[in-house]
């Protein structure tokens, strides 16, 4: 046994006692990232959703016949579209945070490799990355919901509060599969494809801008199977105060299972990629 006294760190490296304590060891790293990068995202995070609400909700909404029977219970187009946009916004954050940044961590800056060189493992790394994503989303969606409040689109205060927490689930349900994708691809050109064939169609056809019933019976079923519709409908029910609890439970279970399975796969994939 070599005597390290006086030459190395005061305490030898120790393995973290649990999953959370391990992830928390990266807390100061992620807080630094947040502190240094949040300004760069101010416009896309806060100004973009506000402009969308104004353009499509208020201005285009002025030309929409607002009939609660066709708008899933909303008495104005704005009240219909706003909660949908919040959920779509959470999804967009998942896409932007889990594509190029994650890919960069394995391919360009290789920060994951330095993390794994410590006693931390792939599951700690994934948990910390998702924790960061969650913080960022809850902050951004919280601001978005606050901005919407003066427009008078919410029915109850507790509904908004639960809708806010639901965005954490929505972002996990998208963040984990996108992370899995980013850990699996070979070149960054593939990102153009998931943005064009994944994110944009999901945003446009998942009941965010119009009721899925307008798509016709067959496409309606397909749209209802999309994870974004689950999140949009859950958020909308909470915002409009017209909650079908059984349906809400299905939405939560769907999003939870999707997030759980992809989380597990992402940990495995990251392990393979870092250790091989």
């Amino acid at each position: 046994m070599v005597d390290y006294a006086g030459s190395g760190p005061a305490t030898p490296p120790t393995a973290p006692s649990g999953l959370v304590s391990g992830a928390l060891r990266m807390g100061d790293y992620w807080l630094t990232v947040l502190a240094r990068t949040w300004k760069g995202g101010v416009i896309t995070t806060f100004v973009t959703p506000f402009f969308y609400v104004l353009a499509l909700g208020v201005l285009l909404g002025g030309f929409v016949e607002a009939d609660p029977a066709t708008l899933e219970g909303a008495d104005s187009y704005l009240a219909f579209v706003a909660p949908g946009m919040v959920a779509a916004h959470a999804m967009t954050i998942a896409f932007s945070e889990m594509t190029y940044p994650v890919y960069g961590m394995v391919k360009w800056q290789r920060i994951y490799f330095s993390m794994i060189a410590s006693p931390l493992t792939a599951s700690h790394i994934v948990l910390a990355q998702l924790g960061f994503l969650m913080l960022r989303t809850l902050f951004a969606c919280g601001v978005f919901l606050l901005v919407l409040t003066p427009f008078g689109v919410f029915e109850t205060w507790w509904g908004v509060l639960v809708a806010w927490l639901v965005q954490g689930l929505v972002v996990l349900a998208f963040g984990t599969p996108v992370m899995l994708f980013s850990l699996s691809i070979k070149g960054e050109e593939s990102f153009a494809l998931i943005f064009r064939l994944g994110m944009i169609p999901l945003t446009l056809f998942s009941g965010t801008f119009f009721p899925v019933a307008n798509l016709g019976p067959v496409l309606e079923k397909i749209a209802m199977a999309s994870p974004l519709w689950q999140g949009v409908n859950l958020t909308r029910m909470l915002a409009l105060g017209e909650i079908d609890w059984a349906l809400a439970a299905i939405h939560v279970a769907y999003l939870g299972v999707l997030a759980g399975v992809c989380w597990w796969l992402a940990v495995r994939r990251l392990g393979e990629r870092l250790v091989s």
């Binding site: 300004k39 760069g40 101010v42 416009i43 896309t44 100004v47 973009t48 402009f51 969308y52 104004l54 353009a55 499509l56 201005l59 285009l60 002025g62 030309f63 929409v64 016949e65 066709t70 708008l71 187009y77 050109e189 153009a192 494809l193 064009r196 064939l197 944009i200 169609p201 446009l204 056809f205 801008f209 119009f210 307008n214 798509l215």
Partner: protein, 270 residues
């Protein structure tokens, strides 16, 4: 030097003529995209998705409105807006993010300028490539409009050159702005200009939704000029106003091009 060239058995390269230089840059881009053909093909989908979603899905609930004195379907109203907006978006993405990457990280243009290419050739070549790509997308979109029975006039054929005009104007101005950028964070400013134009330039709803003073501001933006130009063409109601739009966009692009050339000279040749 002469001895050196003689030793290599090579002749001193003569300056390329304008057409040749631009053609080389065009060919380079074609070679690059041959390896990313799926990215190329899917490029035209975004406006199509918007047309289906906003035009048809939302359009089903929109009370009709009049345009140029006759009632129009909401989808007929939105489709030309999508053409103009996607011409702007496509050109700006290429002229800002991609151009910045090539200028700053790839050092692509430094390499090119070591050959007989000149800075003006680079600016024109890049814009030509953007326009070739955009022209293919617009033609595809127009065919979709025909298939959906949204086109009722031969004037609609002119929407292809109109979209190219919009694209080259925004491309030139976008490149000019990019030469002033120092980091990726600066692109937030591009988003800040692009996104409100996309949403508020009478793309999704008529300009009558605004109060009078705001209307003047909207009508002065370059995208609005592009949107009404495309709309007048696909609806078959061109007017003298269309010519004003054309002149406006030509001037907008020409100013951009002059700035790009001068800025590239000072960035790359000094």
């Amino acid at each position: 030097m002469a001895l050196f060239n003689a030793a290599l058995g090579a002749t001193v390269a003569r300056p390329l003529r304008g057409g040749e230089a631009a053609r080389m840059l065009l060919w380079r881009n074609i070679l690059v995209y041959r390896r990313a053909w799926l990215v190329f093909i899917t490029g035209f989908l975004e406006p199509v998705f918007y047309l289906f979603s906003i035009g048809i899905g939302v359009g089903a609930m929109v009370v009709g409105f009049e345009y140029a004195g006759k009632p129009v379907d909401y989808r007929e109203f939105v489709a030309p807006g999508m053409i103009a907006a996607s011409a702007m978006n496509g050109a700006l993405l290429d002229a800002t993010f991609n151009f910045f990457f090539k200028l700053k990280y790839n050092k692509l243009y430094d390499q090119m300028l070591a050959t007989p290419l000149r800075t003006a050739d680079i600016a024109i070549g890049e814009i030509l490539w953007n326009q070739l790509r955009s022209g293919i997308y617009v033609t595809a979109f127009l065919l979709i409009m025909v298939a959906m029975d949204l086109v009722h006039s031969w004037w609609a054929l002119l929407v292809v050159p109109a979209a190219l005009l919009i694209g080259s104007a925004f491309g030139a101005v976008g490149m000019a702005l990019t030469t002033y950028m120092s980091s990726w964070q600066d692109f937030e400013k591009v988003t800040l200009a692009m996104m409100p134009m996309f949403l508020f330039s009478a793309t999704f709803f008529p300009v009558t939704a605004y109060p009078e003073w705001l209307r003047w501001i909207v009508e002065f933006t370059p995208l609005y000029r592009g949107v009404v130009l495309c709309r007048e063409l696909t609806l078959g109601v061109p007017s003298w106003g269309s010519l004003v739009s054309v002149v406006y966009l030509l001037a907008f692009g020409a100013i951009g091009l002059v700035v790009v050339r001068r800025r590239l000279d000072s960035l790359l040749l000094t």
